[in-house]
């Protein structure tokens, strides 16, 4: 078989077949196109402003390594004027995080960026190894997820930074959309599709510049640019449900590569049906500037896998309750909604009421988003989830010590 030529430059040998459009590209053209697309996402969503200090949530894995590399390149090429810092969380998992942190340290040198490592031990007085020792492997991801969400924010605050970017890619988003669809959790589905999370209430906003980038292309970008990244699975991690969603996504990709971005887009379209949520496929498509979602629901997840834990149901539920109250008047059953939407014509958003597990609309108890009385972190409860979990852990430790 004669080697295919690059569809772009028509001179070099094609080495990549793009999943999103089957285009065959050579190495140099692929790298350029990949970077240009991330640039487009950044500019069309107006992710940054000149002079902004941005922390890159860096795990040492492929996604965050590629993110750091691409952001550095684009920052220099297009003069974003960003001050980039690597921010790593040390969960305290021997044989996993200590190894990947070594990669991050090398990345800091390679990309000439300052690095800040925040440890669970210094923030919470517990490493994940100790947590697992106390509570066992089951359910430890909940602790890790709740702690991490705060840890990134706190790390950013220590640095005086109000914007954290994470390496979540299109596959991750598609996976989360699918999982929330299978759980019937439309509220979270909607949030998971937002490119920016965190509203005016939260002090640190999050964004996902690689949201439209295929995992396959991220790996190929890392390969062709010879980036130094670390890949291994968390030793405590296996989560069956996400694994299944992941497997399904990858199998779909094999049969129909565009499926991944299609799921992301479907998720965004569904998000428009959720009360108080909005998300746009690409900010350039419309004038949507409200692509914000609650930071409470932005789950760092393990490595590349966002939304691994379901530890913040309470906070999500609270927000959902408040939203539902506001939209109660708009609540309809599906048949009625369809009839109405025909009458209203196109272009108008249809709000679907969310229902609780027993199928009845939520009762309403007004709760106000405030701050945790213990640690001051944003919470809709008096005591935030991390502090609740810590309380339980500390009691256990006391018992063990006695």
């Amino acid at each position: 078989m004669a080697p295919a030529l690059c569809a772009n430059c028509m001179t070099e040998r094609a080495v990549i077949k793009r999943p999103k459009n089957h285009a065959k590209l050579c190495k140099a053209c692929f790298i350029t196109v990949f970077e240009d697309e991330v640039h487009h996402t950044i500019t069309s969503s107006q992710l940054f402003y000149p002079g902004e200090k941005v922390a890159i949530g860096a795990s040492g894995g492929k996604d965050s390594t590629v993110l750091a590399s691409v952001l550095k390149t684009l920052n220099e090429r297009h003069g974003y004027g960003l001050e980039l810092v690597l921010l790593s969380i040390d969960e305290g998992i021997k044989g996993y995080r200590d190894d990947s942190l070594e990669t991050v340290k090398r990345n800091a040198v390679q990309y000439d960026m300052p690095l800040k490592v925040v440890g669970y031990d210094e923030l919470y007085g517990w490493t994940m190894d100790q947590v697992v020792e106390t509570i066992g492997k089951k359910g430890n991801c909940t602790y890790c997820g709740v702690f991490r969400r705060q840890a990134l924010d706190r790390g950013a605050k220590m640095l005086g930074i109000k914007h954290v970017v994470t390496g979540h890619n299109a596959d991750d988003v598609a996976e989360t959309v699918l999982m929330n669809l299978l759980r019937g959790d439309l509220a979270r589905l909607s949030r998971s599709t937002s490119i920016v999370t965190g509203d005016s209430r939260s002090e640190v906003k999050r964004s996902k510049p690689l949201k439209y980038s295929y995992e396959k292309e991220i790996v190929l970008y890392a390969h062709h640019k010879k980036l130094d990244y670390f890949s291994t699975e968390c030793i405590y991690s296996p989560e069956a449900f996400r694994g299944s969603a992941r497997g399904l996504i990858k199998q779909l990709e094999r049969v129909r590569p565009t499926a991944i971005l299609d799921i992301v887009r479907s998720g965004e379209d569904m998000a428009r049906l959720v009360p108080g949520e909005s998300s746009s496929s690409c900010a350039c498509r419309g004038q949507n500037t409200g692509a914000f979602a609650s930071a409470e629901d932005d789950i760092g997840g393990c490595g590349s896998q966002n939304g691994r834990t379901a530890g913040n149901e309470m906070a999500v539920m609270d927000k959902q309750l408040r939203d539902n109250e506001a939209h109660e008047g708009l609540e309809t059953d599906v048949a009625k909604t369809m009839a109405e939407s025909k009458q209203r014509g196109h272009g108008q958003q249809v709000k679907l009421g969310l229902r609780s597990e027993n199928g009845a609309p939520h009762g309403v108890t007004r709760q106000i988003l405030g701050n945790c009385k213990r640690c001051g972190y944003m919470s809709s409860q008096e005591i935030c989830q991390a502090c609740m979990l810590l309380e339980g852990l500390n009691k256990n430790r006391a018992k063990i010590q006695i």
Binding site: V15, I16, K17, K62, D63, Y229, S231, T232, E233, K250
Partner: protein, 137 residues
């Protein structure tokens, strides 16, 4: 019946520059007529853990498969599972007789989708890289 040496000979240190190696028979000091193809396999993205935590392998394998047809990538994958994989979790590499979705295969740095995937006939000196996209960081 000609003697066929089927055992894999794997050197992990250096990569042979001579792709076709004649394998000495165990008896009589003569040479087999079956060529062995030296081929370079590399594993990344977490797959190395299935292959003895070694990222690069230089593998000699029969130049023809059991039906006497030239060795293809499909044959190699099967061969790898049977001969090189130290880990019993074959399904992390091969699922339903095909490479597990989410694992990228690069033939001389090109996506194997451009090269005919499993049907690609291995050439001397080919570098074949398996990269998993399935692992986090």
């Amino acid at each position: 019946m000609p003697h066929r040496s089927r055992s894999p000979s794997i050197s992990r240190e250096s990569i042979s520059t001579f792709p076709f190696q004649r394998q000495p028979c165990c008896k009589g000091g003569s040479f087999c007529h079956i060529s062995q193809l030296t081929w370079h396999a590399a594993f990344r993205g977490g797959l190395e853990m299935l292959f003895d935590n070694q990222r690069r392998h230089s593998v000699s394998l029969p130049a023809v498969n059991d039906d006497g047809k030239p060795a293809t990538v499909g044959f190699l994958i099967d061969y790898l599972c049977k001969n090189l994989m130290k880990d019993p979790r074959v399904d992390l590499f091969v699922l339903d007789k095909h490479i597990r979705p989410g694992i990228l295969v690069l033939i001389n740095d090109a996506d194997w989708e451009l090269e005919g995937e499993e049907a690609y006939v291995i050439q001397p000196h080919d570098n074949i890289l398996f990269v998993s996209t399935l692992h986090g960081g």
